[in-house]
C-alpha cells in the first residue's frame, strides 16, 4: 500500500499501534530513518508530529536517524539562526508528546556531526527532553 502523499503517511501512522491491545508492553521505541534532509531542521518536528498515542500512554524513546548532512560547510550558528521556526515547532511537539504520553521522552539522534551542537542546544532548551547523540563511526 504505497503512500500517495505526505498526509496519508501521517494518517496511517496516527492510526497505527493501538497500545491498549498490548497490555504488557513496557518499552516502546519509535524511530525515523531519514535520507537527505537538505541540511535543515524541519524534519525533526515533522517526525515528531507523527508520534501519537493511540489509546494509552507508553513511549520510551524516539530515535531520529538520518544520513550525513550534505551541507558540511554550513556553520552551526547560521543553521540555528535560520531555524527559529523549526526549533519552536520541535519545542511544541516535544511538549505535546510529553503531555500525551505522560513521561520523559528520550530523543536519540544518530550520525550527523553538524547537528550535534544544534541538538545540544535543544537539550538545554527542553527540560524533559534528553537528547543523545550517537556517532556511527
Amino acid at each position: 500500500m504505497p503512500f500517495p502523499d505526505a498526509d496519508s503517511f501521517v494518517e496511517a501512522f496516527e492510526r497505527s499501534f493501538d497500545f491498549s491491545k498490548l497490555p504488557n508492553l513496557q518499552e516502546v521505541k519509535l524511530g525515523f530513518r531519514a535520507g537527505r534532509t537538505g541540511g535543515g531542521l524541519v524534519w525533526i518536528p515533522m517526525a515528531l508530529s507523527t508520534v501519537r498515542p493511540a489509546t494509552s500512554l507508553r513511549l520510551s524513546t524516539i530515535r531520529l536517524d538520518f544520513a550525513p548532512s550534505p551541507l558540511v560547510n554550513r556553520s552551526v550558528l547560521s543553521l540555528l539562526e535560520g531555524a527559529t521556526d523549526d526549533l519552536r515547532r520541535v519545542e511544541y511537539e516535544v511538549a505535546r508528546i510529553e503531555r500525551e504520553f505522560e513521561g520523559v521522552v528520550n530523543l536519540t539522534v544518530v550520525r550527523d556531526s553538524v547537528f550535534k551542537a544544534v541538538l545540544a542546544t535543544l537539550n538545554v532548551r527542553f527540560r524533559f527532553c534528553r537528547v543523545e547523540w550517537h556517532s556511527m563511526t
Binding site: A6, D18, L25, V28, R33, A34, G35, M46, R63
Partner: protein, 198 residues
C-alpha cells in the same frame, strides 16, 4: 571428521555461524553433519554474493535444539527461509535482515501455515526482510506469535503489516521497536506541513 561420533566435540557447540554464500561459503556436504551439533542453540546463516547462486535450504538439516535463527544474506527467497524455519520446531528468536531474492508474490500465499515453532522470544526484521511476504508468512502461522520483543525497521508502506505483527503478539509483547524509513516522502511532507502551519 570423527570416526566415533561420541568423541566429536560437536555437542559442546552452542552457536553455528555458517556462510551460505560469497567467497567463504561452506560446501553443501557440511549440512549432512549439522545435526551432530546436538546442543546448538543459535544458527546464523550469513553471506552475500552469487557463489553459489542458489542452493536448496529445504535439504539442509539443523539440530532440533536450535531456539534462535539469524539470517543475514542476499541469496535466499522467502520460501527458502520458510523451509529453514519449518525444521526448527523449538524456535523462539528470529532475526531476518539483508536482501531477498524476489519471487512471484502469489507463490507466497499460505507459506506460513506449515510452521510450528514457539516464536516466544525476539523478532527482528530489517532491510528487505521487513517485507510483505515475510510478514504475511509469520501472520499465517497457525499457532500464532508469542514474541516478547519485536524490532522492525521498514518503509512506511510496511507500517500496517508491522502493526498487525505487533497486534498478533498481543499480551506477550513487552518491548516494541519500530523504525520507519521516511526519506521518500520527506520533501513532500515538510512542504505539506509548512502549508498547514501558515
Amino acid at each position: 571428521m570423527f570416526p566415533v561420533p561420541e568423541e566429536s566435540p560437536a555437542h559442546h557447540v552452542r552457536e553455528l555461524g555458517i556462510w551460505i554464500a560469497g567467497q567463504d561459503w561452506v560446501p553443501e556436504r557440511f549440512f549432512e553433519y549439522t545435526p551432530c551439533f546436538t546442543n546448538a542453540e543459535t544458527v546464523r546463516l550469513l553471506g552475500y554474493g552469487g557463489v553459489p547462486p542458489l542452493r536448496v535450504p529445504s535439504l539442509w538439516k539443523f539440530p532440533q535444539s536450535v531456539t534462535s535463527l539469524v539470517v543475514n544474506s542476499g541469496v535466499v527467497t522467502p520460501v527458502q527461509i520458510r523451509d529453514i524455519i519449518a525444521q526448527l520446531r523449538n524456535l523462539d528468536d528470529l532475526s531476518l535482515s539483508g536482501s531477498l531474492i524476489r519471487v512471484d508474490e502469489r507463490a507466497l500465499v499460505g507459506i506460513g501455515t506449515v510452521l510450528t515453532g514457539g516464536f516466544g522470544g525476539k523478532l527482528l526484521l530489517r532491510d528487505e526482510c521487513a517485507d510483505e511476504g515475510i510478514m504475511n508468512m509469520l501472520l499465517e502461522i497457525p499457532t500464532g506469535l508469542h514474541f516478547t520483543e519485536v524490532n522492525i525497521r521498514c518503509t512506511g508502506e510496511r507500517l500496517p503489516s508491522s502493526v498487525k505483527l505487533a497486534a498478533v503478539c498481543g499480551r506477550t509483547l513487552v518491548k516494541l521497536s519500530c523504525t520507519i524509513i521516511v526519506h521518500g516522502i520527506l520533501r513532500a511532507f515538510s512542504q505539506s506541513r509548512r502549508k498547514k502551519t501558515h
